[in-house]
């Protein structure tokens, strides 16, 4: 079932078309990556999903019904890009306050806050003020506050920015766990390695338009260039075959591009026929980073302002 469907969303500002006809859907329980260069319209899109902005055109269907910000907000958790916390408020109190604003009763909020604090090893922080925390710590806190009320849809805007590998890992594991427990997560990021590790579905936007939409595996298949890496001990200086083209040759490592007319078996046949001892043979799928750059290249690096009619 689609938890969230966006249909032909448009949001125009006076100086640009921030979101220009974007549609996609989120499956329940999936981890969704919203990618795009700076200025692509990600934040505007996310704000429309949280009900902070209203689209100029298009619809949002949440849980099968038209999206009603005021009531549906209780099922959505939103973590903005920069830390959104009251600096001088005590942490425990703040989590309770924000949880209650989301509709939890005081008792529930208290219980859940305690649970999460214990789980993230934050118990000793209860009485501290936010300004006493380091970036990684406040990020963890923000995360806890976002998921406190067991939202069905969790929206994270750049959740890993500024985190060291250990903390980033912790958040990553939590996201996995939440998805396993039935929540749907959508997060926007620039960090492609993270996307590859966590997401099962991605959407790439640029200049307000969607340019990619699919599972990670599909996208990679879509953009593969038929590159394969071969590791062999006795590679000859030159190789010639109708099956492939040598792209790179570094000692025992070889990168070849299989021609459209051929396939892996013929390549392997070549090596075997030539008594070359193969140690490893792998497909080189493009990294999302490469795909990203490939697609965005050609468009201007930063978003230009335009006059919207």
């Amino acid at each position: 079932m689609h938890l969230l469907e966006l249909k032909n969303l448009k949001k125009y500002y006076a100086t640009q078309k921030a979101v220009d006809d974007i549609s996609f859907s989120l499956e329940e329980g999936s981890i969704f990556g919203l990618l795009g260069p700076n200025g692509a319209g990600k934040t505007t899109l996310l704000r429309m999903i949280t009900g902070i902005f209203y689209p100029d055109e298009g619809e949002i269907i949440f849980n099968g019904k038209k999206f009603e910000p005021l009531s549906d907000n209780l099922f959505i958790g939103y973590m903005p890009e920069e830390r959104g916390l009251y600096k001088k408020m005590k942490i425990g109190e703040q989590a309770l306050y924000l949880g209650q604003l989301k509709g939890l009763s005081y008792k529930d909020a208290l219980e859940k806050t305690k649970y999460w604090f214990r789980r993230m090893e934050m118990e000793t922080w209860w009485g501290k003020k936010v300004e006493d925390l380091s970036k990684g710590m406040s990020q963890k806190l923000q995360f806890v506050i976002t998921v406190l009320h067991n939202p069905k849809l969790i929206i994270l805007d750049e959740p890993f920015s500024g985190l060291d590998p250990v903390n980033a890992n912790i958040i990553k594991d939590e996201i996995h766990q939440l998805a396993r427990d039935g929540a749907t997560v959508i997060f926007s990021t620039h960090r492609m390695e993270q996307v590859e590790e966590i997401c099962n579905h991605i959407v790439l936007v640029n200049q307000g338009r969607k340019i990619l939409d699919g599972t990670v595996a599909n996208v990679k298949q879509q953009f593969k260039e038929n590159l394969f890496s071969v590791q062999a001990t006795n590679l000859p200086g030159t190789m010639f075959s109708e099956a492939f083209e040598v792209i790179k040759h570094n000692g025992s490592k070889l990168v070849v591009k299989i021609k459209n007319t051929s396939n892996s078996n013929e390549v392997l046949k070549y090596f075997i026929d030539n008594d070359i001892m193969i140690e490893a043979y792998n497909e080189i799928l493009p990294s999302l980073n490469e795909i990203f750059i490939k697609l965005i290249e050609g468009t201007k690096n930063s978003r230009q302002f335009q006059k919207v009619a």
Partner: protein
């Protein structure tokens, strides 16, 4: 609705529990009353009593010289300028034996101003009485009683109020009017800027985004305004209670006599602040007597109304400004100008209007919502419905309430856009556009 309540209690509790708030709420009245008491006390206690031995060879004074507050006179034989110290006197007063009026005071140290004045006064008084007795055969007793009866003429200011004659007291009204006007003026600034700072904090910290994903921006704004207003009200009430309590305690400590002394003393001292302090102390005393003449219930009621609605009227504007500002607090100052200007103008008008509370300046400006909290409050102590007819009061109040609804409506729209708009420098023109933007 309960969400607004949540916001209100958070805004209220975080501020009220703040150490700075508690300190300033308790210390301010303490300092205020304490300072006045201390100054009064010191100026009085500063007076040493001097013992003066009087040498009256020609017996001009007839062996009698009244003691002053700071001086006691003794007519003793056998004291002269050499032995007066041993005998326990601090000075010798030589009454002239000839027809000159120069009395000579020899002392071991310089007499204080008060003591000196005392000596002179007493001597003059004695001379006066003597002369009256000798020349006109009037003795002290009859003179005194004549004076007392003459004092009876007092100006009883009365005015006609709805069929009754009510006692008027313009200086009291003046004081209350001035005081209330200023109090509201200060409050508007303090709590208005508190609202603005709170909004700015939420914007720069991005907490606004998180909260706005749970509640409507309007709820956040109103919750904040009401919460901070409650803090202001709490502080006001605490101050009133503390000031009344402390000044009652202080006046028990200082007898009316002491206060009178201080007032006298201050008249002779060139020290202005001491004079002011003791005058104020005198006012405290005087206040008690004239308490009955003012219509306290009406004044207090109107004060609370204008305090609250004046705050509500302006607070939303402060919130709107706060929402438009980015990191630079300088922007805030610039944007704030069109809002602080009316408040300042109101005080200026009030200072003028209070001398003529029924005049057209006072009347018209007490209707305009921008000025009414301050100006109307200054007019009311002069009498409702005497100086301020009921219809005027009603119009003023209704306009203020309508005004508050209006400013809140516009500010809510500006706020809604402003708190999420980063990077763009806002001007009032820009903000005006936001107010009419569709979402």
């Amino acid at each position: 609705m309960s969400k607004i309540w949540l916001i209100i209690s958070r805004e209220y509790l975080t501020r009220v529990k703040n150490k700075t708030f508690i300190l300033s709420t308790i210390l301010t009245p303490l300092l205020f009353v304490g300072l006045i008491t201390a100054v009064t006390f010191i100026s009085v206690k500063n007076v040493d009593k001097e013992n003066v031995a009087v040498i009256d060879r020609a017996n001009i004074l007839g062996g009698k010289l009244d003691n002053g507050k700071a001086v006691t006179f003794s007519f003793v034989p056998g004291v002269d300028s050499l032995n007066y110290k041993e005998k326990g006197y601090s000075a010798i007063l030589y009454v002239p034996t000839d027809s000159s009026d120069t009395y000579r005071l020899v002392s071991k140290k310089q007499f204080g101003l008060i003591a000196e004045a005392n000596v002179e006064d007493r001597i003059n008084e004695a001379m006066e009485n003597k002369m009256l007795k000798n020349k006109y055969n009037i003795d002290m007793q009859s003179l005194d009683s004549a004076r007392k009866s003459a004092q009876k003429a007092k100006l009883d200011q009365a005015y006609y109020e709805g069929g009754e004659i009510k006692k008027g007291n313009s200086s009291l009204a003046y004081g209350i009017g001035y005081g209330s006007g200023f109090l509201i003026y200060i409050t508007l600034f303090i709590y208005g800027s508190m609202v603005m700072r709170g909004v700015m904090e939420e914007k720069t910290n991005r907490i606004a985004e998180v909260v706005v994903s749970s509640v409507k921006p309007f709820q956040l704004m109103i919750g904040k305004i009401v919460g901070i207003g409650a803090v202001g009200l709490t502080q006001l009430l605490l101050w009133i209670v503390l000031i009344i309590g402390l000044s009652t305690a202080a006046s028990a400590f200082l007898s009316p006599d002491t206060i009178q002394q201080a007032a006298d003393a201050s008249q002779q001292m060139p020290n202005a602040s001491a004079g002011m302090a003791s005058n104020t102390a005198k006012q405290f005393e005087g206040l008690k007597d004239t308490l009955g003449s003012a219509n306290w219930l009406m004044i207090a009621g109107c004060f609370i109304f204008y305090f609250l609605f004046g705050y509500l009227f302006y607070a939303s504007l402060f919130a709107a400004v706060g929402s438009s500002v980015n990191e630079d607090p300088q922007d805030a100052q610039a944007l704030l100008l069109p809002i602080t200007m009316p408040i300042i103008i109101a005080i200026v008008i009030m200072i003028n209007a209070i001398t003529n509370p029924s005049g057209s300046l006072a009347t018209y400006s007490s209707m305009i919502p921008f000025f009414s909290p301050i100006v109307m409050m200054a007019r009311i102590p002069f009498g409702v419905p005497g100086t301020v007819p009921y219809w005027q009061l009603l119009v003023s109040m209704s306009l203020l309430v309508l005004g508050f609804l209006g400013t809140t409506w516009i500010s809510a729209k500006i706020y809604r856009t402003g708190i999420l708009m980063y990077g763009k420098k806002a001007t009032w023109k820009e903000m005006w556009k936001w107010a009419f933007r569709k979402y």
